[in-house]
């Protein structure tokens, strides 16, 4: 089983700068890390290949520094790493990004599965996984929380949805996006780190993946960020101190009155 896992470099903290002109994120110079939700995609892929044989290929689109997350994936057990990096890729929205990744996956060639994280913690769109499936006409199963069965032709999985867990069977090749519940991610091993140091990361540019120039980068992106604002939190907090029995009772009654006033207790009748 050959599994391709697209991964993303995200800012370390939730505090990032935005370019006021283009409205895109300024990434350089800030500490970056592997998108934490991609760890679950990697773990799901490793477990499948450990159980059924095969290998995991990781791919990312990003600046030079993104090579670090590929190294990290190699040290956890990925066999091959591909870095899509080229100036014209810059400014890509989810449409253009999913196009670039789908071109790379096409070039990688034969595979059984593409697994992505549920979303990246910076952009928070969850659009690139489904977008890749659309470009490649793959069966798409999102929000996968467990994989019950995998054969060379199909896979049975559960999706975490609003009503509970939807059980599905999907024909391979397919694209899955997975949620945190799927498995506990492993840590890189020392042996893995040594292997990663010795591995080479393949660098592909727009030409290497035969990308249509009109579909990549800012130019190829249908969406434009036109304004960025920092919302001021206008909440002012009323504080009650519950020191001792009397004060606790008074605080609780204040709270109940307030909730009642704002009609937030109406469901109590059914409770």
């Amino acid at each position: 089983m050959h599994i391709i896992v697209p991964i993303k470099q995200v800012p370390q903290s939730s505090d990032v700068k935005m370019d006021p002109v283009t409205g895109t994120m300024i990434r350089s110079g800030r500490s970056s890390t592997l998108n934490p939700l991609d760890l679950y995609a990697l773990e799901a892929a490793f477990r499948l290949t450990e159980a059924h044989g095969g290998s995991v290929t990781v791919v990312t689109m990003g600046p030079d520094s993104a090579a670090n997350i590929l190294k990290e994936a190699l040290s956890m057990g990925a066999e091959r790493a591909i870095h899509l990096t080229d100036r014209p890729f810059g400014g890509s929205d989810t449409y253009a990004t999913s196009y670039v990744l789908s071109r790379a996956i096409e070039k990688i060639g034969s595979y059984d599965l593409v697994i992505t994280g549920e979303r990246a913690t910076d952009g928070d769109t969850a659009q690139v996984g489904p977008g890749i499936a659309a470009w490649l006409d793959l069966g798409l199963v999102t929000y996968v929380s467990s994989i019950e069965e995998a054969t060379s032709t199909h896979l049975v999985a559960e999706r975490l949805v609003e009503e509970g867990y939807q059980r599905v069977q999907v024909a391979l090749p397919a694209l899955l996006t997975v949620v945190k519940e799927i498995a506990i991610p492993r840590l890189p091993t020392l042996k893995g780190k040594k292997r990663a140091m010795a591995s080479t990361i393949e660098r592909w540019d727009a030409e290497a993946i035969e990308a249509d120039r009109s579909r990549i980068g800012l130019k190829g992106s249908p969406t434009r960020v036109v304004k960025i604002e920092t919302p001021k939190v206008a909440r002012s907090c009323t504080i009650y101190h519950a020191d001792g029995d009397e004060a606790t009772l008074a605080a609780v009654d204040h709270l109940i009155d307030l909730l009642e006033e704002q009609q937030l207790l109406k469901e109590v009748h059914h409770g």
Binding site: P130, V161, Q166, A171, T223, L265, H269
Partner: protein, 331 residues
């Protein structure tokens, strides 16, 4: 007069509330543009009176495709109906809910249609002069609000965060044109739905709940987490949990609130023993009311709270449960 469309969601033949929230958003946009508002319904069947409710909440046109295959969502069965429908009618805007369904379907359609999409919007407006859709969404953990548009591509597509807008006024005298759509035969759907296993320990998902009571590290141990469960029951709400609480095994992942869990906008959010890491705050910034019970009066979470009781939660919650119970008995 290119239409504004909303994609309704159904469950067992009934429309989900978010379908009407989308109509409230869509109605405002359609009025501004002076174009018809349409709602698209893909369902195994629709209960008597359901389509009339869409009209009452603002739909001028209702496209309905009924087929057994829509009993459960697969992106492929939905896209097979929607792609030709969009190409035939050319709507200028398509709105869907930012649910597991909408956030799967729309990015798939956007690529197939070659157009832009903005995820999880909390506000939508029409730009003066151009008529472009302004799509406003929280980004970077809710620390910024980004306004996004897609000036050169149609349809303009967005998913709207559930509970981010109130329902519009219902007018039962309103009528809509119902257009039946024959679902094209789909030779093979790569995805086959085998069934649904309901949650064992919750009535509904925390995204759908009006009230969510969450517990964190301050609960100290698993046994104490039952306090959260009891309070959620007393308030008719669902149980949420911080990442710490989930990682400790006090609650399961479907309950996790925050950046690596769920982003929710309940009417009432009660955070108990949660200090408020940025990742947690990112998940609750659009809650209508936030109540905090915590022993630290300098906890981060107070920055976004409306009301806080500072003290020992193990003393406060039993009193709160008792008073809620007494109140219910007197009513």
């Amino acid at each position: 007069m290119a239409e504004v469309w909303t994609i309704a969601e159904t469950h067992n033949g009934s429309l989900k509330e978010v379908s009407f929230e989308l109509l409230a958003r869509g109605r405002a946009l359609a009025d501004e543009l002076e174009v018809p508002l349409a709602s698209v319904v893909l369902a195994s069947h629709t209960r008597e009176g359901e389509l009339e409710r869409l009209a009452a909440y603002g739909a001028d046109i209702i496209y309905v495709a009924e087929d057994e295959r829509f009993a459960s969502f697969t992106v492929h069965s939905h896209a097979a109906v929607l792609l030709p429908l969009v190409r035939d009618h050319g709507p200028q805007i398509i709105l869907a809910a930012a649910t597991t369904t909408g956030r799967t379907l729309l990015p798939y359609l956007a690529v197939k249609l070659g157009c832009g999409l903005t995820a999880d919007c909390t506000s939508l407006a029409i730009e003066e002069g151009t008529g472009n859709l302004l799509q406003i969404r929280p980004a970077i953990g809710g620390n910024i609000m980004a306004t996004i548009k897609s000036p050169d591509h149609r349809p303009q597509m967005a998913t709207s965060r559930p509970r981010s807008t109130p329902l519009g006024n219902m007018d039962t005298t309103r009528r809509a044109t119902v257009i039946r759509v024959d679902p094209p035969s789909l030779s093979t759907d790569p995805v086959e739905v085998l069934g649904v296993r309901p949650f064992r320990d919750q009535q509904t998902s925390i995204e759908d709940a009006r009230t969510v009571v969450s517990g964190g590290k301050g609960l100290k141990k698993r046994e104490n987490f039952t306090l959260i469960e009891q309070l959620a029951t007393a308030l008719g709400g669902e149980v949420g949990a911080s990442r710490d609480a989930v990682d400790r095994g006090w609650a399961t992942y479907p309950h996790q609130v925050g950046l690596s869990g769920k982003t929710i906008s309940p009417e009432l959010y009660i955070a108990i023993g949660i200090s408020g890491a940025i990742q947690h705050l990112a998940g609750i910034k659009t809650a209508k009311r936030i109540v905090v019970i915590n022993n630290d009066d300098e906890a981060n979470i107070l920055d976004i709270a409306d009301v806080a009781i500072i003290g020992d939660l193990f003393a406060i919650i039993p009193v709160l449960l008792r008073r809620l119970n007494e109140r219910r008995k007197t009513q």
